[in-house]
């Protein structure tokens, strides 16, 4: 299997602070990979580097063999990488359906084509019934799913999810896990930045652990939780898998 995305020796500093330090990993097509780590580990920075929202200080990001780390976010998106935001950002004055349509305009100019793609995206995250609602009428889990639907409308090959499960109740999170598993079964590659450990164990086939900006472990969820370095730095002494 070839890697869809390769991150090579990626570093990024803000002034004197090194947020991401020499991180390398690769994503295989059709899998769910999780990027985890304690607060301030550099997860979101790493995520933004891949999404084109930040430029790396050094290192490279390759997507399907092409270097993308110097491309602006709209170009990265058009190449097939879609992202969500940690803090949900619906277009406030537009309906749920209209929000979901925007992404489709990256590959079509036909409004009705965009609309049917938007319905399809909303359908796949279970929001189709609320297509005409205003975004401020949505609950938090629904808004998180709207973010995902917006990203899906761009027809991505790789979906980057920034803490989609943060702040949700376990039952709500379980619904999202189901959606993600179905998307991965459909052939989509997913990179998920996540805090909620239990969910990562359930949904990810590979886990990359960051700590203080550096990668400290990588492997299957089982391998990672057994790793003493991970236990020590991230999960704390009290965690027993």
């Amino acid at each position: 299997m070839t890697a869809l995305l390769e991150v090579e020796n990626l570093s990024r500093s803000f002034g004197g602070l090194v947020a991401v330090k020499d991180v390398s990993f690769s994503l295989r097509a059709g899998r769910i990979t999780a990027l985890i780590g304690p607060n301030g580990a550099g997860k979101t920075t790493c995520f933004n580097l891949v999404a084109g929202a930040l430029k790396p200080t050094s290192g490279r990001v390759l997507f399907e063999g092409r270097q993308i780390d110097n491309s602006p976010p709209e170009t990265v998106c058009r190449m097939g990488i879609a992202r969500t935001f940690q803090i949900v950002r619906p277009m406030r004055e537009m309906s749920v359906l209209e929000n979901a349509m925007i992404g489709a305009f990256s590959w079509t100019r036909n409004v009705s084509e965009a609309r049917s793609k938007a319905y399809e995206s909303l359908e796949s995250v279970g929001l189709a019934a609320k297509a005409q609602a205003r975004t401020d009428q949505l609950t938090l889990p629904d808004r998180k799913m709207l973010e995902t639907a917006k990203a899906l409308s761009t027809r991505p090959k790789l979906l980057l999810l920034d803490e989609v499960m943060a702040g949700l109740r376990p039952t709500e999170a379980a619904g999202i896990v189901g959606v993600l598993q179905k998307l991965a079964e459909g052939g989509l590659t997913i990179l998920l930045v996540e805090h909620v450990m239990r969910i990562v164990m359930e949904v990810a086939s590979r886990v990359v652990v960051l700590h203080h900006g550096a990668k400290i472990a990588e492997g299957t969820p089982g391998e990672v939780v057994a790793d003493p370095k991970v236990l020590e730095s991230y999960l704390g002494a009290g965690f027993h898998a």
């Binding site: 999404a51 929202a53 602006p72 976010p73 709209e74 998106c77 058009r78 879609a82 992202r83 935001f85 950002r89 277009m91 406030r92 004055e93 537009m94 209209e98 929000n99 349509m101 925007i102 992404g103 305009f105 990256s106 590959w107 079509t108 100019r109 036909n110 409004v111 965009a114 019934a129 297509a131 005409q132 917006k150 990203a151 409308s153 761009t154």
Partner: protein, 343 residues
């Protein structure tokens, strides 16, 4: 299903639009010359308001210097016609191309160097003031003395866009109608969706693949070009062009009053706003003259503006729509019901 619901609203909108323009057409045929010339200005500012509205209401870019584009349109028509006898049609086209390019250049420079939001708005004022001062000192375009169109002969000449008061009323009406249709058309096209997304959240739009740099330049240059068309006709209607009035801050403010009072980002807002603001201004100015209270129009204007912003912050037109929806609540609710059943 949903389509049925949309179609009901759709029909109501078309009906409203056609009725409004039919009434305005009748006004042009029946009203006296004073009302007609007042309404001509209302309609021209409706069109200018729509052009400005495209930029802020849909594209999310604030301009407080639209007088620049209006002035470029006016001078293009004026210079070509007065100096060389070239048809205003050519002048309008020239003005649109000129203003569109100037708008695009300002936008390009500004966004290239990450000047945005309120700083971009300040830049538009600076550009307009720069042009006003330049034109005030430029002998070739008449400097402070201005440019005067020859007095109309009375006959209607479509090829030279010359005619009587009524003729210009219908020209202005046609422009306003074009503005409404154009705004509707753009709002429903992919440009409308992409621009609204960019307005609501630029970085989120970029993450969804919207090339906001290009789109911002496009919306600004389109707004500039249409403002120039309005400016060209305004110059013909007024019969003269003075840099201080056609490129002054006052005109920039007049342009944005209609959409702000009527409803930002809506198709009919600029029309409703201009209909409310301009006649009121004229009325109060006349009243102020007869009561010997100079400045009464400005005071009233200010009071009305503050009241609208205070009580109807999203403008008069959205308030009317809300009222209509409240009245029509039962049929709307019924449509929602039927939609659920079909699903």
């Amino acid at each position: 299903m949903q389509k049925k619901f949309d179609r009901g609203l759709e029909r109501a909108r078309w009906l409203a639009g056609i009725t409004v323009f039919a009434v305005l057409g009748l006004v042009g045929l029946l009203a006296n010359p004073y009302v007609i010339s007042l309404m001509t200005i209302v309609l021209l500012f409706t069109f200018l308001g729509q052009s400005w509205n495209l930029m802020l209401g849909i594209g999310g870019q604030l301009s407080i210097g639209h007088a620049l584009f209006v002035g470029l349109g006016a001078y293009s028509v004026g210079v070509l016609y007065v100096k060389y006898g070239i048809s205003p049609w050519v002048g309008l086209l020239t003005g649109m191309i000129l203003a569109g390019s100037v708008g695009a250049s300002i936008a390009w420079l500004s966004f290239r160097f990450e000047v945005r939001g309120i700083y971009f708005a300040l830049l538009t004022i600076a550009a307009a003031e720069f042009a006003r001062i330049m034109f005030s000192g430029w002998e070739f375009v008449g400097a402070m003395q201005g440019l005067f169109f020859p007095a109309p002969t009375g006959g209607i000449e479509i090829s030279m866009l010359r005619g009587d008061v009524r003729f210009y009323y219908f020209v202005a009406l046609a422009l306003a109608a074009l503005g409404v249709i154009g705004t509707e058309f753009i709002s429903r096209s992919y440009l409308g969706y992409v621009w609204r997304a960019m307005r609501d959240d630029e970085s989120a739009a970029r993450a969804l693949g919207v090339r906001t740099f290009q789109h911002k330049i496009l919306v600004i240059s389109l707004s500039a070009a249409t403002a120039a068309a309005g400016g060209g006709v305004l110059a013909l209607v007024q019969g003269s062009i003075f840099p201080d009035s056609i490129m002054g801050m006052g005109l920039s403010v007049d342009v944005l009053l209609g959409p702000v009072v009527g409803g930002l980002g809506t198709t009919f807002g600029p029309l409703v706003g201009s209909l409310a603001a301009i006649p009121l201004n004229h009325l109060m100015s006349a009243l102020g003259d007869s009561l010997r209270i100079p400045g009464l129009n400005n005071i009233t204007y200010g009071v009305v503006l503050i009241s609208v912003v205070w009580f109807l912050p999203d403008g008069i037109w959205p308030a009317i729509v809300r009222l209509c929806k409240a009245i029509q609540a039962p049929p709307t609710a019924w449509l929602w019901q039927s939609r659920k059943v079909e699903e």
